[in-house]
Amino acid sequence: MKRRDVLLAAVTLLAVWQAAAMIVDLPILPPPLEVLGVFFRELRRDLLVHFAVSLWRVSAGMTLSVLAAAPAGLAIGGSKKLNRFFSPFIYLLYPIPKVVLVPVVILFLGIGDMAKIVILFLILFFQILVLVRDQASGLPPQLIQSLRSLGAGRRALFRFVYLPASLPAILTALRQSIGTAVAVLYVTELSATRYGLGYYIYFKGSTLLDYPAMYAGVVAMSILGLGMYFAVDWAERTLCKWKFVG
């Protein structure tokens, strides 16, 4: 994918938005330029704070889930015994839509940031766990045997084989779940908080009926998702160079 093509697509989408706004011609669909103006105005007021709060929640959830799921996935994928024991549990828990647990988690953890971070954690945890586990258990046995014959024990296998092999899986899992994570973030921020982009969008749209500001919130949320997407792409290009050669 070329950068120029991405830019071209972005311009096209903005044109479609502009056209739709002109056709609909209602306050509930302001044109992009107006929204952009409001976006920068709101940024100087409180939008930046809401953005920062949302960014903090989603990054905390992501970081925690990688820190917990990657080692767990490596351990389960690297050991037949652990895999046999845990796989039925993962099989049952993985398909449960974690977003339905929002009310439950809020009941247990209260209305602070913790509840929101835990929900994001739950969603990302299983995605990463499953991908890393499959990556680790799918490594060719010849690779493991070669390393063992060079003197590698369990610790060295983790350091030199399982860890680098699981990096792409972690990044793939993150990329796949960014969309869900941001969507769920929005849902969790609808209630029990006065900060975050979800709250901001809902409050501007439904309470204040300030539609351009609401769209500014939508733009901010899109930038959040897109930014994380780019970050993962960049990490993959830097950390997994071998994936992009040949």
């Binding site: 010849q142 003197g151 024990g153 060295a156 990096l167 050669v245 040949g246």
Partner: protein, 255 residues
Amino acid sequence: MIAVRSLAFGYSLQPPLFHSFDWAVKRGETWAVLGPSGCGKTTLLYLLAGLRLPVSGSIEIDGERLTRPRPHSGLILQDYGLLPWSTVRENVELGLRLRKFYGADGKHAPRSFQPKKSVEYWLERLGIADIADAYPSQISGGQRQRTAIARTLVLEPDLLLMDEPFSSLDAVTREDLQALTLSLCAEQGLTLVVVTHAIEEAAVLGRKILLLDAPPNRTAKVFENPTAGSAGQRESKTYQELCSRLRREMQHETA
């Protein structure tokens, strides 16, 4: 150098592959282990590498009973042995990095190890210096095996164990690497054990050939092949005769 004594081995729920099997390899010999698939030849190599342990009996290398991979043995497998995320150079350095990782603990790495020759020397010697910064996915099968050989020789082994090392390569590359392997063994004074299913490869690489039967293997069937690897061997009459003899033996076994 290698003493296999009344070895018994089998995988659970499967008939045994070896039963009171005896075999001996002297230092500096080059052996080919030949047999049809399922005869246990790869298993024998894994046993020699210390990656599997005998059910009963013993394997001694240099008088020491084998209970784990031995730092002075090098193992080269058919494929997938290289780290796909590391360059050729990093792969060749891998053994050294592993030794550094554990330190000279006498278990994963020898107590004292000072490599006499550098990684650069081996990259040059194996003809892979030009592609040292390429990843395994970018190079040919022959270059990958050269990398695997370099990685092993950096650690200065005295015993080289190979499992079908050249069977996925084209004929010319294969013959090149067979010749290279033999000259490296002579140059470094290595003992060589190569497992193969190809009669011609066994006849080229093994001054001695161990033929394995349909399991369980009880006695070591050994063929002498003193002209292995010599110039013009492939055109000689003794080579042709040996090949047809081995072929008859193998057909007889599987019949």
